[in-house]
């Protein structure tokens, strides 16, 4: 398996080579080369920001398609709670879950239920107080990758627990195998608001192999589900989750359900960056827990959703209120999972920002970088294909660009050459020179 693999990709024919995405990418992972945006694989954390900012819709998240249902005999849907928020006027989650069965799934297991199991396990982990404070939630895969690249010294703050999606997949598979179904025949399909989850399923962090077989986007499923929902005449009672698990989709939901009072819920990758900086400076030791989600509005703002995140939040809150009315109890006491939810592999840092393995050489390169940066116009125009002048200087010392990629530097060079040529053209061989030459 190759080490870096991403869901977020470019559709070349749509890309016009503008600077929108290169300037917004939180890890400076995009360059424009030959008129097209190019993602530097090692740096991309699949946040999906570039998908959102591209005006030509040239970036997309590659997910599995509904056709892949045909690959398995026994098909299980594990929907993210965000799915529930996408349908206007549907308050009963059971309707959506029944719809999924009509769509072709043999079984449905809610990721919201997985979230509740994760919460129970997290509580236990938090009790033994060995983790350094503040503890950082591991719920958002983008944030974990971001920490690996940008804040490696905070890796040991991350709550070492697998995600609700993974728990749901493992739990449902274990249950089905117990019932006598052959594991090879089971296909677990995660219905996802998130591009990074696709990457995480193929290339997990913290363990070797994901129990999720395919990842479908909420968008694709939504399109198929809407007409089906209209035809349902008998709603099955399939919901197992309580409001707590569903609440995870909203920023702050995890911390609230954990029962921690002293926590920070922060959404939007640039906001998370600021908070992690503070942790790095030792300034948030008085905080117990940080729930950082890369998308604005949490998972409801994921790049694979259809509804506006603010509207989705309103819908989800309606669902939560409705559930209270129909007395759906918090069933966290019933959680009796014998699954091991902690990570089996350590999270390693990914020093992709490092200029050279050898520090002496790195220092030389950095000095060169500073020198080049000083000579550049420092207006961050982006015409060179790098997000800013400093990034171009960095690309140059990494041998990935030339100083003439800067149009201002090029112009200056051309001008110097032109002046040289004019001067040269004035020169005559001695035999033709007049006295006053």
């Amino acid at each position: 398996m190759c080490e870096y693999l991403h869901s977020v990709t470019l559709q070349e024919e749509k890309c016009r080579g503008c600077t929108d995405c290169i300037k917004r990418c939180p890890t400076e992972a995009i360059r424009v080369r030959n008129g097209k945006a190019k993602i530097i694989n090692e740096r991309c954390i699949d946040c999906g920001l570039c998908i959102r900012v591209c005006r030509n819709h040239a970036k997309k998240a590659v997910t599995d398609t509904l056709d892949s249902l045909l690959e398995f005999k026994y098909k299980v849907a594990i929907p993210a709670p965000t799915l529930y928020s996408q349908f206007k006027d549907i308050l009963d989650v059971n309707l959506i879950l029944t719809g999924l069965k009509k769509l072709g799934f043999d079984e449905v297991y809610e990721v919201a239920r997985g979230a509740e199991i994760v919460t129970a396990a997290s509580r236990k982990l938090l009790e033994n107080k060995t983790l350094p404070k503040p503890i950082i939630s591991s719920a958002c895969p983008v944030i974990i990758r971001f920490i690996q690249i940008r804040f490696p010294e905070l890796i040991n703050h991350i709550l070492p627990i697998i995600s609700p999606m993974e728990v749901a997949a493992r739990e449902v598979k274990a249950n089905l195998v117990k019932k006598g179904i052959n594991e090879k025949d089971i296909g677990v399909f995660f219905i996802s608001p998130c591009a990074a989850k696709v990457t995480n399923v193929r290339n997990p962090i913290g363990f070797d192999q994901s129990s999720v077989d395919k990842v479908l986007s909420i968008k694709d499923v939504y399109m198929k589900l809407v007409p089906i929902l209209k035809t349902i005449d008998r709603v099955e009672t399939l919901r197992q989750s309580s409001n707590n698990g569903i609440g995870w989709a909203i920023s702050g939901g995890e911390g609230k359900f954990l029962g921690i009072e002293n926590y920070i819920a922060v959404d939007g990758i640039e906001n998370v960056n600021k908070i992690l900086e503070k942790v790095e400076n030792g300034k948030l030791k008085d905080v117990d827990f940080i729930e950082g989600l890369a998308c604005h509005g949490g998972c409801l703002g994921g790049p694979l959703t259809v509804e506006n995140s603010f509207v989705a939040k309103n819908h989800l809150e309606k669902i939560l209120r409705y559930s209270v009315k129909v007395k759906k109890q918090d069933n966290q006491d019933m959680i009796n999972s014998d699954l091991n939810l902690t990570w089996s592999n350590p999270i390693i840092s990914k020093p992709v920002m490092t200029l050279d393995q050898d520090m002496e050489k790195a220092i030389k390169k950095l000095e060169e970088l500073e020198r080049i940066y000083d000579s550049l116009p420092q207006i961050d125009c982006g015409s060179c294909g790098a997000p800013n002048c400093r990034a171009l200087a960095e690309d140059i010392v990494r041998d990935n660009a030339n100083i003439e990629d800067c149009i201002f530097m090029l112009r200056q060079k051309v001008r110097e050459m032109a002046e040289d040529m004019v001067n040269l053209s004035r020169k005559l061989p001695p035999a033709f020179r007049k006295n006053d030459d």
């Binding site: 400076n281 300034k283 920002m353």
Partner: protein, 136 residues
Amino acid sequence: MKLSFNVDGDEFTLAGESSSQVKKVLKQLGVPSEVIRKIAIAMYEAEINMVIHANGGTIDVDITPEKVYIVLKDTGPGIPDIDLAMQEGYSTASEKVRELGFGAGMGLPNMKKYSDGLEITSEVGKGTTVEITVYI
């Protein structure tokens, strides 16, 4: 490799920018993360102190493969009794500054805790120089 910064004393919100940049540089140089963390905490503390007490100043950073050496110089009021200032909980911060979360009396003790060498020279009325060394 040498870096220099001017720290503006009028802007609380800008305090910490130099430490932020130094952190970025150290990551580019591949300095181990535990070391970066020590430097981040010690230097941030020192930078904030400089803003609170001395209306800013200058910071010089010298990075070699063996160590990071940081000198923070200001022309502020100086520290009358350095030993006293090193005690945990000792603070000269005004009410306003404390409200902002600074000046809990952990500044100098924290700097000492997270650096391998801490040298403070100060003259009342003239200014303070703080030298922080962290070995890589």
